[in-house]
């Protein structure tokens, strides 16, 4: 295969049959790619670590974490926000760019959405883990109980609870809905009875009759049109978890958009990573071309500019507002104990991505890979900045303090990372890694 270039067509002209055959063949193979199980094993192990640390957490209590008096929120919230941002990247691509009718989107939306699923799963764990008494998490749900009590609807945390609930459920439904036609294809191409029944059951009898297609087409459009604002609302609300408080460093009106920008950035970075990896592993270069890399890089660049803008505004509003506690807090962020974390975020999220202005670099996969990893780490730093650095300098100096993640904090983080990759690897083992029915349209247009 030739090296990808920004000039590549959105897909090399191949026949429907060739594409379908190639993509649908993967799950029927014992291994989607060479040494597949070898790759799965470590991440499976990490998932085990996650389970272990969760069990110990429930046994011993949140005291095993690094959180303390001034910094009462730590890794749990950092990781939560970080994962949910990563997850949203998928929805942006599959929903937002569906609406814009961007043809390049068809090849990668399956990967993107699958990533959303597992990202959201990882994120969804944390809000419950972080509770002091997680076994009462259901008190967040407004159901008539023997205590005659209800949740407190003014709390951003409750908004968040519903936002996540909605986002996870909707993502699953949207993902499954988009999968239907391909499941039908798989059913009909399956040779072994086992696969036929499996996919047949999942396809629920989708046959591609003109009626089905008619409803399908319309519905999918409308759902996409809802998913796009949904993901924005989710991130605004996550932003409000912080902006809703009077805490210095949090009490800022720009948080909702700021969080959406962050979601764009880390989301695109992660999708880009996955696309680069999977197109090689599954030989999808014919349909995920240099063009895709180029587009995703441009998106990353754009969103990194957004984020940069937000960083600047952060500083501006602090001094423009001129509240003492805020200034103290912000100064601590720039020059204090945790300054490296903040500047790390600036470096990885804003400065380095500027390299992508250079056309040639956008298809230099090694460099882009590094940049993506940088952004993903950088975004974690950004969350660390928002949560920890803001909290460690509250209004009263008598309550100033420090925070350090404990071993269990790190294990849990690693664990969710493991779960994420583990999930995606399992997913590509059973579902087509590319949306075949949408590719057919693309190929049509190429012809």
């Amino acid at each position: 295969m030739t090296r990808p270039s920004p000039g590549d067509p959105v897909a090399l002209s191949t026949s429907n049959e060739a594409m379908t055959a190639h993509v649908s063949a993967v799950p029927f193979r014992a291994q989607p790619f060479a040494h597949y199980w070898l790759a799965v094993a470590p991440f499976g192990a990490l998932t085990g670590v996650l389970l272990g640390s969760i069990l110990y957490l429930f046994y011993a209590g949140v005291g095993i974490w690094g959180i303390d008096w001034p910094v009462a929120w730590g890794f749990a919230l950092i990781n939560y926000v970080w994962w949910i941002a990563i997850a949203s990247g998928g929805t942006f691509i599959s929903a937002l760019f569906y609406l814009t009718r961007s043809e390049w989107r068809n090849a990668i939306n399956r990967i993107a959405e699958t990533m959303t699923l597992f990202g959201a799963a990882c994120a969804g764990i944390y809000p419950i883990l972080h509770l002091g008494r997680p076994w009462f998490f259901y008190w967040l749900f407004p159901y008539p109980n023997t205590m005659g009590l209800w949740p407190q609807f003014r709390s951003p945390l409750l908004w968040d609870f519903f936002a996540i609930l909605t986002y996870v459920t909707s993502s699953v439904l949207f993902w499954y809905f988009g999968l239907l036609p391909d499941l039908a294809t798989m059913r009909d191409r399956a040779t072994s009875r086992r696969w036929q029944v499996f996919y047949g059951a999942l396809a629920l009898g989708f046959r591609g009759s003109s009626t089905q297609w008619r409803h399908y087409h319309v519905t999918y459009g409308v759902l996409a049109a809802i998913m796009a604002p949904l993901v924005c609302s989710v991130h605004s609300i996550v932003g409000l978890d912080f902006a809703g408080a009077a805490t210095p460093g949090w009490h800022s009106t720009q948080f909702p958009p700021f969080f959406i920008f962050g979601a764009f950035l880390s989301g695109f970075a992660t999708v880009l990573l996955l696309v680069m990896a999977l197109r090689r592993l599954l030989n999808l270069q014919a349909w995920m071309t240099g063009r895709h890399l180029d587009v995703l890089c441009k998106l990353m660049l754009t969103s990194s500019l957004f984020v940069g803008y937000a960083y600047v505004m952060d500083g501006f509003t602090v001094f423009y507002g001129g509240e003492k506690a805020d200034i103290v807090n912000y100064t601590a962020r720039l020059f204090g104990y945790y300054a490296p974390v903040y500047w790390g975020a600036v470096l990885f999220n804003v400065m380095l991505p500027q390299l992508l202005w250079v056309r040639a670099l956008r298809v230099n996969q090694l460099l882009v890979t590094l940049l993506c990893c940088g952004v993903i780490v950088g975004m974690w730093f950004e969350r660390y900045t928002i949560v920890v650095i803001s909290l460690h300098r509250p209004h009263l100096p008598s309550a100033w303090g420090l925070y350090h993640g404990s071993l269990w904090d790190w294990l849990t983080l690693m664990g969710t990372a493991g779960l994420f990759v583990f999930g995606i690897l399992l997913a590509i083992r059973i579902i087509p890694a590319m949306s075949m029915f949408e590719m057919r349209e693309t190929l049509e247009q190429r012809r």
Binding site: F162, A163, D188, S209, Y216
Partner: protein
């Protein structure tokens, strides 16, 4: 009653055949293809809208009821009816119901799950989800239908019981 299924190599061929079959007076016709075919009317958008509005309304009322009637409490000196705070949750519940009603509405409209349909017995159908476009004619007079399909250049014609 019999169903006659003809398979075509691509959409244009099928469309052509379709028109001429209609002229030939075949009405009970359904087509199958591997990719979204043709625009057209669907009730689902309305269903989704309804679901969304219902959800949002329900969510807002629920919150209002619980804070104002069910157990009024002084929370941070805020008014009992703090409507701006109810918007996010109302919105989320609305979206949730909208999307759910969309997806499940789709299944209902198409009476899914329908794992089996008579046409499934036609071998040609098995490629209708990959690279064939099929026309299924339900008719009393299968012979004419087959001839017609052959005439309109079907690659393959099967006949199955309705």
């Amino acid at each position: 009653m019999r169903i006659v299924v003809g398979a075509f190599p691509d959409e244009t061929a099928m469309q052509a055949a379709l028109g001429r079959l209609r002229e030939a007076g075949f009405n009970a016709i359904e087509t199958y293809g591997p990719k979204p075919a043709g625009e057209g009317h669907s009730p689902l958008p309305l269903v989704i809208l309804a679901g969304g509005l219902f959800g949002a309304a329900l969510g807002f009322w629920w919150q209002t009821h619980e804070t104002v009637q069910a157990y009024p409490l002084d929370i941070g000196g805020r008014p009992l009816f703090s409507w701006p705070a109810y918007v996010p949750i109302a919105l989320e519940i609305g979206i949730l119901l909208a999307i759910a009603s969309g997806v499940f509405g789709f299944f209902v409209v198409n009476r899914m799950p329908r794992l089996w349909e008579p046409v499934d017995d036609a071998p040609a159908m098995r490629r209708a989800t990959s690279d064939r476009w099929c026309i299924a004619i339900t008719t009393e007079t299968p012979e004419q239908a087959r001839h017609a399909l052959w005439r309109f250049a079907a690659l393959e014609v099967d006949e199955v019981a309705a």
